[in-house]
C-alpha cells in the first residue's frame, strides 16, 4: 500500500527541481504533440499520470488516436515498451508470462509476458475476457507479477496505458469496477478539429510519424522526476478539500458508487504532479479541482435516475465541485 503523502514529506524540492520537471515534461509534450495535434489537455493528463506514477485509461471510439498517443508517449521515453493487443482469446498468461519446463535444464523457467516493460500499452483492453483483464490487476497495483508462487517485480517506471472502446460497442466487455479504480485517470481524446485533421492528413499519409519520434528522456530521469513530484507540498487545507470532494461523491444521491479512498490518494498524487508541471512546489485547491473529472469520473456509478435523466458523472462532478467549499485555513 502507498503511504500518506504529507506527513512524511522528504526534503523539499527546490525551485530547480520543479523547473526540471516542467522542462522535461514540456519536451515530452512537444514530442507527443508532433503526432497528436490539437489535444494538449489530453497530453497534459497523460503527463500528469506519468509523473504521478499512475495508469492511464484512454477511452474513445476507434480511430481517434488512442493507440497513437500511447505509442508516442512510450517512444518519447527511452525505456522498454510493450504493446499487448487485447482480444477475446487472449489468455492471462499472455499478459503476465508463463513458466515453461526446460527439458535441458529440467527446470521450469519463466517466460515474461507483455506486462514486463516500463510502459505497457494495453490496446483495446475491454475486448479481452474479464479473466484476462483481471490479470492486469496485481501488476498495476503492486507492480509485481506472481506466477507459480514466484513473485517477479516490475522495474519502475511502470505505467499501463490502456485504450478501450465505449462499452456499448460490439464485442466488448465492461471493465470491472475494481480494475477501473486502479487506473489513475481516464481521458477521452475526442475527434480532432478540422484544422488538426487536415494537418494529420499531411503528416500521416506519406509515412508513419512515429518512425521519426526520438526519445527525449529515459527511465532513470523519469524516476527522478517522479521522486520530485512525490515531494511536492500538500497543505492541510488542500488535503481537506480533496477529502471533502471524494466524500461528497459518496453521499451524493445521484451516485450509486462514490469515489474510493484510493481515488482520494490518486487525486492528491495527480494534483502534486499537476502543481510540479506548473513549476510549483505546493498544491493549490484549483489543481485538485481541475483534476476531479479525469481522476474521479470513471470510478463513479450513477444511479438509474441520473442515467435516465441524462446526467452523467461529469455533470454530477461539476455540481459537486461547485458546491464543496474550499477550506480557508490560515497558515
Amino acid at each position: 500500500m502507498e503511504s500518506p503523502t504529507t506527513d512524511q514529506q522528504p526534503p523539499h524540492p527546490t525551485g530547480a527541481d520543479v523547473a526540471t520537471v516542467a522542462r522535461v515534461a514540456s519536451r515530452i509534450r512537444a514530442n507527443v504533440e508532433r503526432v497528436i495535434e490539437g489535444k494538449s489537455e489530453v497530453v497534459s493528463a497523460a503527463l500528469v499520470v506519468l509523473l504521478a506514477e499512475g495508469h492511464l485509461l484512454l477511452e474513445d471510439v476507434p480511430g481517434v488516436g488512442k493507440t497513437m498517443l500511447s505509442k508516442a508517449l512510450a517512444r518519447s521515453i527511452d525505456s522498454t515498451v510493450r504493446r499487448i493487443q487485447f482480444t477475446p482469446d487472449l489468455l492471462p498468461s499472455d499478459v503476465t508470462g508463463v513458466s515453461v519446463y526446460n527439458q535441458q535444464s529440467r527446470e521450469f523457467e519463466f517466460r515474461p509476458g507483455g506486462v514486463f516493460a516500463n510502459i505497457v500499452i494495453g490496446d483495446e483492453i475491454n475486448r479481452a475476457s474479464p479473466k484476462t483483464q483481471s490479470a492486469l490487476l496485481e501488476c498495476m497495483e503492486e507492480q509485481q507479477v506472481t506466477v507459480d508462487n514466484v513473485t517477479y517485480h516490475l522495474e519502475p517506471p511502470f505505467m499501463v496505458i490502456a485504450t478501450q472502446n465505449p462499452v456499448e460497442m460490439e464485442g466488448t466487455y465492461a471493465l470491472p469496477e475494481a480494475q477501473r479504480d486502479r487506473f489513475m485517470a481516464r481521458v477521452s481524446i475526442g475527434y480532432p478539429v478540422p484544422a488538426a485533421e487536415i494537418a494529420m492528413l499531411n503528416s500521416h499519409t506519406a509515412l508513419n510519424p512515429l518512425d521519426d519520434l526520438e526519445p527525449v528522456t529515459d527511465g532513470a530521469e523519469l524516476r527522478k522526476l517522479c521522486a520530485i513530484v512525490g515531494q511536492v507540498h500538500v497543505s492541510e487545507a488542500v488535503q481537506r478539500y480533496a477529502v471533502s470532494l471524494t466524500a461528497a461523491t459518496r453521499e451524493h444521491p445521484e451516485l450509486l458508487l462514490g469515489a474510493s479512498p484510493r481515488a482520494t490518494l490518486h487525486l492528491v498524487r495527480a494534483a502534486k504532479a499537476y502543481a510540479a508541471l506548473h513549476q510549483r512546489d505546493y498544491v493549490l485547491p484549483d489543481d485538485v479541482r481541475s483534476l476531479v473529472q479525469p481522476i474521479l469520473s470513471h470510478r463513479l456509478l450513477p444511479s438509474a435516475e441520473a442515467a435516465v435523466s441524462g446526467r452523467g458523472t461529469n455533470a454530477i462532478l461539476e455540481g459537486i465541485t461547485a458546491q464543496v467549499p474550499v477550506p480557508e485555513i490560515r497558515s
Binding site: A237, R240, V243, Y282, L284, P325, V326, P327, R330
Partner: protein, 791 residues
C-alpha cells in the same frame, strides 16, 4: 456623461428649486397684511438651504448628510428669526414656541388677512415655508425626483386655496410654473445625457445644442409641461371643491360680527371698524353706568397678555349669588345697582360681560366664573352671547380719595401669577417703572404715580392710528420710549404697560377687557357698541380688592376714577430727612416671588448685577449657546465622519499586515462596494470574480455605468494576480518556505481603487460615507467547513 454634476449645474438646479418654492410661497400672501414678515426671512433661508444643498451635493455627500445639514441650518435660521438665537433651546426655544403659539392663536381667532396690530401668523408661515423649501429641495435636487417635487409645490398652492378667499396670484403662479418646468427640463436633460450615445447616424458630439433628437425631446418636454400646466389652471373650476379649514381661520362673514372668543380681543380692529355696531343694550337703575367687564387677562407671557388657563368649578355657575370680591373690605361703602342686559345678534362672545364687582349674575346657559378673576366663560363651545339676556347685580364702590382702604398687599394674598414678569423684557420697562414710582410710600401711591405718568406727566398720547402693533417686548420699548414714534398708543397698550409696570414694582396686576361707556338710548336704556370696547388694568390692594385704574389719556377717557386722581406727595429720595429704606423695602419685600427688580435704584443695581443686566449682552449665555452649537455641529460631523475614519484606520492596519490581512482588506472593500464575494471559493476563483469588477481608475468623470473587467485596468488585473499568488503562497506553500513579496500593499491599494472605479457613483459614495464593513463582518466559513470535513 458625468456621474457627478458640475458645481455650476448643482447650484443652478438648487437655485431654481429654491426660487420656485419661494415664488410659490407668495401664494400665502392672503394670510396676512404685512407679507414681508415671512417672505423676507424666507429669502435668506432659501439662499442658505439652496447654497448648502448645492455645495454638499457637489461634494458628494450622501443624501442623509445633505438633508441633515440643511435641516440644521434651516432650524437655526428659523430659531434666529423667531427666538433671536440660532440654537432653539432654553430661552430661545421658549421664545420660538411662544411666537408659534401666538401665531396659532391668531390663526384660530382672526380671519385672513391678519391685521398688523395683532400677533402675526408670520412665524407659522415661516415654519411652513421652510418646510416646503426643504421638501422641494430634497425631492428635486437631492433625490432628483422633480415630478414628485411638483406635488409639494402643488401643496403650497392648495393651502391658501383652502383657507383664504383669494387664490394665489396669477403672476406668482406663472413664475412658479415656469420654474417647475425649468427644473423638469434640466432634470430630464440630465437623465438623457446619462443614457449614453444614441443609435443613429449622428456625427460628432450627438448631444450638442443642434442635435435634432435633443431638440425634439426638449420640445416634447415643453409641450407636456405646458399641457399639464394648462390643465392645472383650467380644470379646477370644474372639479367639486371640498371646504377645508385646517387652522380654524375665521369664517368669511366676520366683517360685521364682533367675535370675542379669546379675550385678548382685537380691540384695535374692532375700534377701527368704520361702523359703530351696537352690541349690548341694557336697562339699569344706575344713573351713570360706565365700565362693563368682559374678561380678564391674568397672564403676561412677556409678549402678550392672555387669559391663561382657567379652572372653573361646577358650582361656579351664573345662577345667582356670587361670593364676596376677593380682598374687598366690608368697610368700603357700596351702592347696589341692577342691570338687565340684552346682547344683539352681532355680539358673539364666549365671555359674559358683567359688572365688577358683582353680587349676583343670572344668565341662561352654562356660564361659569373663575374664583380669582370673577369673569364668566361659556362652557359649551357653541354657547355665545349672541341674542342672550342676562341680569347682573353690581356694586358701585366708593373708595374715597384718602387712600384709607388701600393697604399694600401681603405676600400670598393673591396668586403668584398676578406678579409674574418673565425675563427678557426690555430694560426700559423696568427702569421706567422704578423711576416713575420713585418716592412712592405705598403701593397705592405707586399706582397713582404710574397712572398719572401715563395720563399726564409722561407725555403720552392716545392714538389708534399711530399706535405700534402688538404688546410684546419691542412694542413696549417703542411705546415707553420718549421718541418720535414713542409714547403713542391706544387703550390696550396703556393697560398692558401699566399692568406690567405695576407688577414690576410689586403690585399684583391684571388687564381687564370690556366696554368703557354706554350711550343712552333715550328711553332709559343704554347701549354699548363696538367703539366702546376698552381695556384697563386692575390692581390689587388689601381692603380694596381688585381696583380699576385708568392709564389711557384723556384723548380717550376724559376722567379717571376719583380714587386714582389723588395727588401724591413724593417722598424725595434725595432729601436726607426722609428715610427711603424704611419705606421702600416694606413695599418691595412683599414682591419678590418673581424675578422682578423692585429696587429704588435700578441703574446701580443693574450695573452691579452682571448677569441680570438687561441692557448689556449676556456673554456667558452667548458663549454657552455658541459652545452648544459647536458641540452639536461637532457631534453631527463626528457621526457623519466616524464610519469613514474607522474604515480608513482598518484599511491602513490591514495593508500593513500579512497577505491574509491584505486579502481581508480586499474582502472588506468588496463588501463596501456591494461586489459579490464568492463564499468557499479558492483565491484564484475569487480573484477572477474581482477582476471582472475592476474599473478604469483613470476615468475622472465616472460614467453612469462604468466599464469593468480586466481590460478596464490591466495594471490592477496584474496587481490582483500578484495579491492572489501571495495569498496562495501564504496559505498553501510549505510554512516558512517563502516570504511575502514586497509591494503587496501597493498592489492591494491599486486593486481597491480599481474596484471603486468600477461601481456607480452612488455605490461609491455609500461605500465612502457608510462602509458596510465597519459594522458588518465579512463572512468567513472556516468553522462551518471544519464541521463539514469532520462530519
Amino acid at each position: 456623461m458625468k456621474g457627478r454634476p458640475a458645481f455650476g449645474y448643482s447650484l443652478l438646479v438648487s437655485a431654481i428649486a429654491a426660487g420656485t418654492t419661494w415664488v410659490a410661497l407668495m401664494a400665502w400672501q392672503g394670510f396676512l397684511v404685512d407679507t414681508s414678515d415671512y417672505l423676507g426671512p424666507l429669502v435668506l433661508t432659501a439662499v442658505v438651504v439652496a447654497g448648502a444643498g448645492a455645495v454638499l451635493r457637489w461634494l458628494g455627500s450622501p443624501a442623509v448628510v445633505t438633508v441633515a445639514c440643511q435641516v440644521v441650518l434651516a432650524v437655526a435660521m428659523v430659531s434666529g428669526e423667531l427666538g433671536g438665537g440660532p440654537v432653539p433651546f432654553g430661552a430661545t426655544g421658549d421664545q420660538v414656541m411662544r411666537s408659534l403659539e401666538l401665531a396659532m392663536d391668531s390663526a384660530q381667532l382672526y380671519q385672513a388677512p391678519i391685521q398688523p396690530n395683532v400677533p402675526s401668523v408670520a412665524p407659522l408661515l415661516l415654519v411652513g415655508g421652510v418646510f416646503f423649501l426643504l421638501v422641494v429641495d430634497f425631492l428635486a435636487c437631492t433625490l432628483r425626483r422633480v415630478p414628485v417635487a411638483g406635488l409639494a409645490l402643488l401643496a403650497v398652492y392648495s393651502v391658501p386655496a383652502g383657507l383664504t378667499q383669494s387664490g394665489p396670484g396669477f403672476i406668482a403662479f406663472i413664475l412658479a410654473a415656469a420654474g417647475f418646468l425649468a427644473l423638469l427640463h434640466l432634470d430630464s436633460r440630465e437623465h438623457l445625457l446619462k443614457w449614453g450615445r444614441p443609435l443613429g447616424p449622428a456625427e460628432g458630439n450627438p448631444w450638442t445644442e443642434t442635435n435634432p433628437m435633443v431638440d425634439a425631446m426638449r420640445v416634447g418636454a415643453a409641450r407636456i409641461g405646458v399641457v399639464a400646466t394648462t390643465c392645472a389652471v383650467l380644470l379646477p373650476p370644474f372639479i367639486p371643491v371640498l371646504d377645508v379649514d385646517l387652522l380654524g381661520l375665521g369664517p368669511g362673514d366676520g366683517d360685521e360680527d364682533i367675535q370675542i372668543r379669546n379675550p385678548r380681543a382685537d380691540l384695535r380692529r374692532d375700534l377701527e371698524r368704520p361702523e359703530d355696531t351696537p352690541l349690548i343694550r341694557f336697562r339699569t337703575d344706575d344713573p351713570s353706568p360706565s365700565y362693563l367687564r368682559v374678561a380678564v387677562l391674568n397672564r403676561f407671557t412677556g409678549v402678550e397678555w392672555s387669559s391663561g388657563d382657567r379652572g372653573v368649578g361646577d358650582s361656579n355657575t351664573a345662577t345667582g349669588e356670587l361670593p364676596d370680591p376677593e380682598g374687598l373690605s366690608p368697610d368700603v361703602p357700596r351702592t347696589t345697582h341692577t342691570y338687565e342686559f340684552e346682547a344683539t345678534d352681532a355680539f358673539e362672545s364666549s365671555w359674559l360681560p358683567t359688572q365688577f364687582p358683582a353680587s349676583s349674575v343670572e344668565a341662561e346657559g352654562d356660564w361659569r366664573f373663575d374664583d380669582d378673576t370673577m369673569d364668566f366663560l361659556a362652557v359649551p363651545d357653541d354657547l355665545t352671547t349672541e341674542g342672550l339676556d342676562w341680569a347682573v347685580t353690581g356694586y358701585e364702590l366708593d373708595y374715597g380719595t384718602t387712600g384709607e382702604h388701600f393697604t399694600d398687599s401681603s405676600l400670598g394674598a393673591v396668586e403668584d401669577e398676578f406678579l409674574e414678569v418673565p425675563g427678557g423684557l426690555p430694560s426700559i420697562v423696568r427702569n421706567q417703572a422704578v423711576e416713575v414710582t420713585t418716592g412712592a410710600r405705598s403701593d397705592y401711591e405707586a399706582a397713582l404715580l404710574l397712572q398719572d405718568w401715563f395720563r399726564k406727566s409722561g407725555g403720552f398720547e392716545y392714538s389708534l392710528r399711530q399706535a405700534p402693533p402688538g404688546t410684546g417686548g419691542d412694542a413696549f420699548e417703542t411705546f415707553l420710549t420718549d421718541s418720535e414714534d414713542g409714547r403713542v398708543g391706544y387703550c390696550e397698550q396703556f393697560a398692558s404697560a401699566m399692568g406690567v409696570m405695576a407688577r414690576i414694582v410689586g403690585i399684583p396686576a391684571r388687564v381687564a377687557v370690556g366696554f368703557l361707556e354706554p350711550d343712552p338710548l333715550g328711553n332709559g336704556d343704554w347701549e354699548y357698541s363696538s367703539h366702546d370696547l376698552h381695556a384697563w388694568p386692575e390692581l390689587y390692594f388689601e381692603g380694596a380688592g381688585w381696583v380699576r385704574f385708568e392709564p389711557t389719556p384723556s384723548g380717550r377717557v376724559v376722567s379717571a376714577p376719583d380714587y386714582t386722581t389723588v395727588p401724591v406727595d413724593r417722598n424725595d429720595p434725595t432729601d436726607p430727612t426722609n428715610n427711603p429704606t424704611s419705606d421702600e423695602p416694606s413695599r418691595g419685600a412683599t414682591t419678590e416671588p418673581t424675578d422682578v427688580t423692585t429696587s429704588a435704584a435700578p441703574d446701580d443695581q443693574a450695573a452691579d448685577d452682571g448677569t441680570g443686566a438687561d441692557d448689556g449682552v449676556d456673554w456667558v449665555a452667548v458663549l454657552l449657546r455658541v459652545g452648544l452649537g459647536l458641540l452639536v455641529l461637532a457631534l453631527v460631523l463626528g457621526l457623519a465622519l466616524a464610519p469613514q475614519l474607522l474604515r480608513r484606520r482598518a484599511r491602513i492596519g490591514r495593508l500593513a499586515g500579512t497577505p491574509e490581512d491584505i486579502w481581508d482588506e480586499l474582502r472588506a472593500t468588496a463588501l463596501d462596494l456591494a461586489i459579490p464575494w464568492p463564499a468557499g471559493r479558492s483565491p484564484q476563483e475569487v480573484g477572477r470574480v474581482l477582476v471582472d469588477h475592476l474599473g478604469d481608475r483613470g476615468d475622472d468623470e465616472r460614467p453612469e455605468r462604468p466599464r469593468t473587467g480586466p481590460d478596464a485596468d490591466p495594471e490592477a488585473a496584474s496587481a490582483m494576480e500578484r495579491v492572489v499568488a501571495a495569498l496562495e503562497l501564504a496559505r498553501y506553500a510549505r510554512p516558512g518556505s517563502t516570504m511575502p513579496p514586497a509591494g503587496l500593499a501597493d498592489d492591494a491599494r491599486v486593486c481597491c481603487a480599481s474596484l471603486e472605479a468600477g461601481v456607480t457613483r452612488s455605490v461609491a459614495l455609500r461605500a465612502r460615507w457608510l462602509p458596510r464593513s465597519v459594522w458588518t463582518r465579512a463572512p468567513r466559513d472556516t468553522a462551518e467547513q471544519d464541521e463539514l470535513v469532520e462530519a
